[in-house]
Assembly symmetry: C2
Homo-oligomer: 307 residues x 2
């Protein structure tokens, strides 16, 4: 049974208000707290000595979902978890991951998730990953996700990566290799505040003919927080890639954007755009003339920007 | 006296068809081949043991020019030259540098120019640097320019950096530091062919309030040539920065673009755009329907792109 804090963390990271439908694996404080498999989706604890699970989705599985939330509510836990997703050909599924850390103690809590996705031919997945931290302890809340995506021909991956609040330190690495006709869409939304530090690295290799990617990052950096965004798109074939990074900088924050376009084939078409700036003054004034305080107006604008 | 080949190189790198008007220093095969100073512009050989010259432009000097072309026509010369420009307040001058290498031998010829510009308050300079190589020897033509620019308040620097042909290996580094109200505009045009390798690095630090920069690179990579373009804009103040990199990739060439936006101040507004791709097919077809061969149509398009 989950306690109230743990349930709240589940809501934050997986929009869950109870046990989800379909397949799921809930991990709390380093232990399995619940699991369900279906006829098409199997979840098995790894037997090779590593901590983690193997998720196997049968070819042709449609309109099913897998939830694998992780909650840390004890201070001082440090874990590395390896989760592998084998997604069968022609399937169409939603995968919801995410980690919530509630740290009221003075020891750091850290969850490093290494996720690998083997996406079969013409399979389609939507992957949602939310990271959230809270708790007033002096211990840090640390999340270092590594995501590796191997896309077979014609597959389609849509990733939503969200870290809105409360994570003190994160170093995210996402690597993808796309075969012919494969598509990868990434929407990253990131907010840092206080003294938080966030580094986010994307490396997408467009190996197959007709492969394409669109990596879009929107971030807000408040207070004295620091953000580094690196996105490399490598075009090895007839392919198209687009990366976009828009950041709002506030207070004494520091934002660095380093995209990289690497065209190794005459038929690679790669585009990048980036913009860093503060909230436009006239937007603030307009909202304030409608009766909002400056702080409320800022919240409104940031909310819209990160939606 | 310059020989015919040397005169031709001068024409390529400095648009000179004879001895220029105004101040000049012509360097041929590691030796001074001519110098002229004016009432306002002094050129002196360095006395600190380093090879190179000091160019001093008096405050308020307007509508004058300095030409400092370098020609290497012997095979096997390798030199590093330090040239310092002291540009007085309120002056408005044109500086034309550039290096041409004619290498018919089997030894490499290399010119590494280290140029420093100390640009006084409200001074304005236009700097043109052309690099050119030719000759059918097996020796390489190598140019590694380092350009450092220190801009005082209100100064304006417009740089045109051109390397169109014949340079086998180049590693360009341009660094600038801008005080309040200073502006730096860079237009780089680069073409590589054969097995040439070109790396171009820009680092512009916007330190002063109201400083701004616009770094625009256009390049064409043919055959199996390789290009790396890195442009970092650091915003330390109320400032605005824009970098743009457009590259045409042809044949088996390889192009990498790595811009970097580094916003360290809430009032820094930084923007970057990059695009790498091949010549648009419909543009080619249109020109070919007007009677051009495919090669002629390509030349036409490249010429327009790099103009």
């Amino acid at each position: 049974m989950l306690d109230k804090i743990q349930m709240q963390m589940l809501t934050e990271v997986a929009d869950l208000h109870g046990v989800p439908e379909g397949a799921y694996n809930i991990r709390v404080n380093g232990e399995k707290a619940g699991r369900n498999t279906t006829a098409n989706i199997d979840i098995a604890t790894k037997t090779d000595g590593k901590s983690g699970i193997d998720i196997r989705i049968k070819p042709g599985t449609k309109n099913e979902s897998v939830h694998i939330p992780v909650v840390l509510s004890e201070s001082g836990i440090k874990e590395t978890v390896y989760n592998d997703f084998y997604i069968g050909e022609d399937s169409d599924v939603v995968i919801v991951a995410g980690c919530g850390i509630h740290n009221c103690g003075n020891q750091d809590s850290q969850h490093d998730g290494v996720h690998r996705f083997f996406v079969g031919k013409n399979a389609k997945i939507r992957y949602v990953e939310k990271h959230y931290g809270e708790g007033d302890g002096s211990g840090k809340r640390i999340l270092n996700p590594v995501t590796e995506v191997y896309q077979e021909a014609g597959s389609y991956v849509d990733m939503e990566m969200v870290q809105i609040k409360g994570v003190d330190n994160t170093h995210r690495i996402t690597r993808a290799e796309l075969a012919e006709g494969a598509t990868m869409i990434v929407h990253e939304r990131l907010m840092t505040h206080g003294e938080q530090v966030a580094t986010s690295v994307y490396e997408v290799a467009l190996n197959g003919e007709g492969s394409s990617t669109d990596v879009i990052s929107r971030s807000v950096a408040k207070d004295t927080s620091e953000q580094v965004f690196e996105a490399a798109i490598v075009g090895n074939s007839v392919c198209s890639g687009h990366a976009e990074c828009d950041a709002i900088i506030m207070d004494k924050a520091h934002v660095v954007a380093v995209p990289k376009l690497d065209a190794r084939n005459v038929d690679a078409a790669l585009i990048h755009e980036a913009a860093i700036g503060k909230i436009a003054g006239d937007q603030l004034i307009k909202l304030m003339s409608l009766g909002l305080t400056e702080a409320e107006a800022e919240e409104q604008i940031i909310g819209g920007f990160l939606r």
